[in-house]
Symmetry: D2
Subunit: 324 residues, 4 copies
């Protein structure tokens, strides 16, 4: 299923090489000011173009299809589309016989019995994240007084991102990174004790972003090696402010009013200029393979704004439920 949320429900559609990709938000409150230009800053952050990112550049101009009237949301489903105007399908025709390692080619072919649109990853393409980012802008507007901020704090194993990218270019091999996300201003009480803990809902959203393979809240994996007396965050006042934040702002699945904090791991871009082995269906053997096409050496550079977006989607749904 390609939708997310219970009362602020987001659905995405489209393929890398189709006519448009888009998103529909159902359950968006009426009366929120919304111009197409409001989306541009976040869309710009997602764009390729800096060193280490793909030379494929899309205009990424959002088109409001429905749900906006006189510059405000109407309460009806809000659909936004983006034209795909920079498509080179020929790049992909050659590799139908060789499922790219690290990519979803193989599983998509199996899952959809060969009927999937294989061009550029089809519906599974990172291109769809443009729709996530657009929806994220809407979600952020709903989260009044709440600030969601994600940053790439490490790439290729080092904190100096620029140096990591330079090395990746020099070595002609893709790299991954770590994105940290902080949310300030959340009310106490979002989330549920079990199935819809804040960690459950946010991780659900975050693992919707391609290339994410891990998430940790607060002290995260380090907590496993701590003692209770060192890990517990002492409560310091009536509002629940804590002296430390090992919990990452969540106790028992519920926001505690402190900063929500989590980190995610972005794996290296699957498409790397290096030659790799993979199965070749035509020759029925394992053979060396080199990915062609335009790709990011460090997709992690473009991930923070997408993490912000899906985090905002998750929180907007919880927030709307909470403030009912």
């Amino acid at each position: 299923m390609n939708s997310f949320g219970n009362i602020f429900r987001v659905s995405i559609f489209g393929e890398s090489h189709g006519r448009w990709v888009g998103v529909t938000i159902d359950g968006c409150p009426a009366g929120i000011e919304m111009q197409e230009s409001d989306l541009l800053p976040d869309l710009e952050r997602r764009k390729a173009g800096v060193a280490g990112t793909t030379p494929r550049k899309e205009d990424d101009l959002p088109v409001f299809v429905s749900g906006i009237f006189s510059g405000k949301t109407t309460g009806a489903p809000l659909t936004i589309v983006f034209e795909n105007n920079n498509i080179r399908s020929a790049d992909y025709e050659a590799m139908r016989d060789t499922p790219r390692p690290g990519h979803a080619d193989f599983v998509l072919h199996k899952k959809f019995n060969g009927f999937n649109d294989y061009r550029g990853g089809g519906h599974s393409s990172g291109r769809l994240t443009v729709a996530l980012v657009a929806a994220g802008v809407v979600a952020k507007k709903i989260l009044k007084g709440i600030r969601v901020e994600a940053l790439l704090i490490e790439a290729g194993g080092i904190a100096d991102v620029d140096a990591a990218v330079a090395k990746a270019i020099e070595q002609q091999d893709s790299i991954g990174g770590i994105v940290a996300c902080r949310v300030q201003g959340l009310p106490i009480g979002l989330g549920e004790p079990f199935f819809n803990s804040v960690e459950s809902v946010i991780s659900h959203a975050v693992f919707s972003v391609p290339a994410i393979k891990a998430i940790e809240f607060g002290a995260g994996f380090a907590a496993a090696g701590m003692t209770g007396s060192s890990h517990n965050d002492a409560i310091m006042n009536e509002e629940g402010a804590t002296a430390t934040n090992n919990a990452g702002g969540v106790n028992g699945g519920i926001t505690n009013g402190n900063e929500l904090y989590f980190r995610v791991a972005v794996k290296p871009t699957s498409s790397t200029p290096q030659t790799q082995n993979t199965w070749n269906n035509a020759t029925q053997s394992v053979a060396p393979f080199a990915v062609k096409g335009r790709h990011d050496l460090c997709i992690a550079l473009r991930v923070p704004v997408v993490i912000e977006a899906v985090t905002a989607l998750a929180l907007a749904d919880l927030y709307m439920l909470h403030t009912k």
Copy 2:
């Protein structure tokens, strides 16, 4: 919301000090053999009683309320309850004024405007995991030919779990741990590219388990420091077997037929014998506080079977959708 799943839907209810805790499974196929005794091995694994776990022991005898007839599931909602017969509510009365650090006392009080059942954590109690384990047994039966296995691979920062527990007892401070989970026999094709990636659905389920603060699939956080050529798993044959398993069995959000592998971090038990600071609502000041009551020094010992259970719930839902 206290339910999980789309077509294999699980709902839990009950409180630590109420009469029963229970679970209802809606969407369970008819004709599955099911005796109350089938649940006992997993329930036993979850039980307290070994060194490092709470002296509170429940009989944990499952009672089938509905959905079973002549030893088989009927296709109607399957409800299982467990009696709470080992309750010492007095332990909790004293600490209403002092929200326990690391616990959900504070957030529950705020979220429910003081109406929550605060005795023993109420609905948020780890006691509810007995219901998760029961549902997990049912889910495992649906996952024919699929084996879900979770193990505690580290506690208190070291691989020797027994030594870690001994040290925790000696130091009288609680500890956490790391649980690894492997699933073998999964078909290719479970999961969706974005909002319902396998990682999304499993992490959603896993973070329903109290005390879990992190999850990583395959190489996980280590992937962030790898190159694409070293991280990508070479596909070796027509069935998609890979030479390595850095992806943890998931490409593009979809199972690839290799072993599904992930690790989770269990934080140290919030209740530690050590004295800690916390806010005291009666005195309006931060004051030292010691948790009384019966608690686990290393709750992580009891977590693996719960992780297996929620993983099975997540996979059963995806599996039933897949085989439609």
Copy 3:
């Protein structure tokens, strides 16, 4: 699926001849006063015992399993169960080979491959409506200032219900009836233009009640024969009060602040003392058949409180979404 609602979610479980039947409400707000005795008046209205209803009488004493503490809802899942203490399973053993006409015996056997609990209709039994009524009492408490009232306005084709029942007893044949339901005090704006119109959501709930075969809102079927100028309800003031109520309080799927009004048809009780023909699997032929057991000649007598209950469930869900 045996649940209803998006944010006020109700699930039922149990069988006619099982140990308990019950209901879980997930999403009930905290702080609502709730005593077991609050449920008794509506439960009493549903009970058998008057002329024309089955001699099977249950005590129907609700047991709160969870979600209530110190006489108020806690915000956790609220589970209520009822013991089945008046069971005569032997009545049903004899007729396994002869699916009763008008009953679900045949379809249940096929749907669940013979694994369904066939005793007394199993999970499909009207016994489950006790759980609906209990949930309805909770829903009514949420609908502050809103009054839901259903009445049997016709039985056996005539408005004099007592006369109709007397005739049914005399003729020893079951009869049906028409129930009218009015809801006063609803805010303007519940419901959605298309898929979740008020009519959609209420009819969804109402057809959950066994034996209901038709529903009409406002002028209903009569509207099909009217002209626009006679059917349209003239708006008379700023609050939207209308001169007539042919719309039944709903325009374009959305409540308009006038009385919500609908009628439902209750078919005659399927179990009638009259001999009927049905297929006999043992003899592989159509043969005369007489239903034994304790049954209602006019189940419609007991339906109004159930209609009130499911209407309240539907409205509570819409109401909670609306007031978010």
Copy 4:
């Protein structure tokens, strides 16, 4: 919420006077042959143009945005849009102060605090049914061997539809009608005993169609006046064929393999040339009012194909769940 279905999920978007209206189907199986031309026959049936329908004619050419590749569904979300190219917004500007009787103008204004797109009914417009019809064509393809057929069997109170329309034109007043729908070839076992009875799910879908105010299955309201012995359908063979079909093909909420049969009432078109009274917000008084613009005198003429479509949506969702 503007979506329908659990595993075959349909969402609609767009406004009468926006750029496009459209629909997204999530959960459509891969490999179904689909050409834009496949949609034309049903779209043609929905079109205006015959006597009694609005002179506004749209080209109604479907554009496949996503989910189709090489003439087959891919398994990814299937989005279809229709351009709105015949818009006369000026018609609607004048009547903002006078909510049209029978229309949703008043409730939409209140529900969305005045932010709704009021032009031509905005998102509530019957224009959106073009999207329902498109989705219905897809659903019909999934229902292999199943035939859904709806017919207008009565208009303006008489069975001779043409005569009824002629009279409406002569009297210059709108009329309603009755649509009967039959579904043949359904398997036994669709639907659930309570909350998701076949009647629940179909009525939910059917009341999504504007102007529908009543539905009855099988004998429907007439059943309320029958006796059990006359209403019960005798089962005649092992496959469950019944001698009569008073149940309309549904027992206990579950399809019984006989023809599914129901009738719906279509109210007269709210927009009638006749002068009517309504509240005028500008003058703060009730005043005569005449609707301008292009409208259908008998919208019921265009309803059958829409009823077929939403019935197919409901059945496709149940069918896919059943065949899992």
